[in-house]
């Protein structure tokens, strides 16, 4: 029977405890099945809340973008009516926001490499840190994080790598053990994309496969795959720092295509990859 209070467990899951307190709770949770199960449930709820609030923010961001771009005089409430219309400020907002996000992504990337991970998490960032991380970063869902990271991977990063893996079948076998037996590494040679390598990133301890391809010219294309979690959004798209994404689920695996391509190119490529993955 667990002696840990609800509030202590939630604070632990939320990453609100000091490092030594967190370590003490972890020791109890590791040896107490009841507390362990409760922590798992709370972590799931925590992750779901972060994703849902992130979705709300995306919705409001789109609404604000529309309002700041539309001419005034509409009956709908608009950003200009609230705080004074200024197209110059709106332009600045777009550029500044992108810079903040890219800088944040770079910081996350550097932190992640130092810790052995490519992606850091908001809850990890909170533990034992006296200063709150950027709330924008903390609220990001896995798709946004991945899109930001993808924007930082240049063609050179893949071309000069010694990690290219010549045998996709062997790579698929390895990924299946980490992501799930149904994961697929699609052959995209007919689409002009050469498989370069696959690697496993981690976000909140959850493995995410990054399967990278190179076209004849132009930026790299990556397909991300992770086990689909219950209650998580399966489909969707977003644009972040020039990188566009398309997400879908097949056979219990959540896929996300990410590349700096146009909307039309992304739609076409995503449809083809879905077809390749679905083919027996």
């Amino acid at each position: 029977m667990s002696e840990l209070s609800d509030e202590l467990l939630v604070a632990y899951v939320d990453g609100q405890l000091a490092r030594d307190q967190s370590a003490a709770v972890k020791r109890v949770v590791d040896f107490d099945d009841v507390a362990g199960k409760r922590v798992l449930g709370l972590k799931r709820a925590n992750a779901r809340l972060e994703e849902a609030f992130d979705a709300m923010l995306r919705e409001h961001r789109e609404q604000t973008d529309e309002e700041t771009q539309e001419p005034s005089g509409e009956t709908e409430p608009d950003a200009g009516a609230m705080i004074g219309r200024s197209s110059a400020l709106a332009v600045f907002f777009g550029a500044h926001g992108a810079l903040v996000l890219i800088a944040g992504a770079l910081a996350v990337l550097l932190l992640g490499v130092g810790a052995g991970y490519l992606i850091n998490t908001s809850s990890n960032a909170r533990v034992g840190q006296p200063v709150a991380a950027s709330s924008e970063q903390a609220a990001s869902g896995w798709r946004r994080d991945i899109a930001l990271a993808q924007g930082l991977i240049g063609r050179e990063a893949l071309e000069v790598s010694l990690e290219s893996q010549a045998n996709p079948d062997l790579v698929r076998f390895q990924l299946a053990g980490v992501i799930g037996p149904n994961v697929v590494i699609p052959d995209l040679k007919p689409q002009g994309l050469r498989f370069v390598r696959a690697q496993v990133l981690r976000r909140s301890g959850e493995p995410i496969a990054q399967i990278s391809y190179l076209p004849e010219t132009g930026p790299p294309v990556a397909l991300y795959a992770k086990a689909q979690a219950t209650g998580q959004a399966g489909e969707g798209s977003l644009t972040q720092g020039g990188v566009r994404t398309r997400a879908w689920v097949h056979n219990g695996i959540a896929y996300m295509l990410a590349a700096a391509l146009s909307e039309t190119e992304m739609d076409g490529l995503a449809a083809k990859i879905k077809g390749v993955i679905a083919a027996p």
Binding site: V10, R48, M56, L57, E59, H60, I83, A138, A233
Partner: protein, 175 residues
């Protein structure tokens, strides 16, 4: 100040949205608070975190409006569309929206600050001018209730939510 407000507008709208009970109320609160912030810009202390100040101002404006009402209990649960995105995984989002609308605004705003804005309990307590213990209790109660909601257990009732508008620390949601 205007630049910072424009930059923050989506986050401010989300913040106002969890306090409000309808989209109209949200826009009204946001608009009034933005006007007040511009008017009282001199009260903002340079070097302080602007987002904390802006959230505090909106929260104070909301509290002021609540106290001016003849009947401080909110008129029923919040509109579901306040928390339901127009696109995406509708089933998953509806689950979240149903849960959120069943909570009193005081608990919704704590959830947003901790899980949406990534704030520490201490910062949320300062921002809402609420004791740290209260914030920790609200966070614990809400996360446990949401975890139960995801597991298919019963969430808090509308009646209970209304009582919590007046006495948020007196009633515990079933875990």
């Amino acid at each position: 100040m205007r630049t910072q407000l424009i930059e923050m507008l989506p986050r401010l709208r989300r913040f106002a949205g969890v306090l409000a009970n309808s989209a109209e109320e949200r826009e009204r609160l946001l608009s009034t608070a933005c006007d007040a912030m511009l008017e009282n810009a001199h009260r903002y202390q340079s070097g302080a975190q602007f987002d904390h100040w802006a959230f505090s101002e909106i929260h104070a404006m909301w509290l002021k409006g609540l106290r001016e009402r003849d009947e401080p209990i909110a008129p029923g649960p919040a509109e579901e569309r306040l928390f339901l995105p127009q696109a995406g995984d509708i089933d998953g989002d509806r689950e979240f929206a149903e849960f959120l609308r069943s909570l009193p605004a005081q608990q919704r705003v704590v959830l947003l600050l901790i899980y949406g804005e990534g704030q520490f309990y201490e910062d949320a307590a300062k921002l809402l001018d609420t004791p740290l213990e209260t914030i920790a209790r609200r966070a614990a109660r809400s996360l446990i209730a949401f975890s139960a909601h995801l597991d298919g257990s019963t969430s808090i009732s509308t009646h209970e939510a209304e009582i919590q508008h007046l006495y948020p620390e007196q009633k515990r949601a079933p875990a």
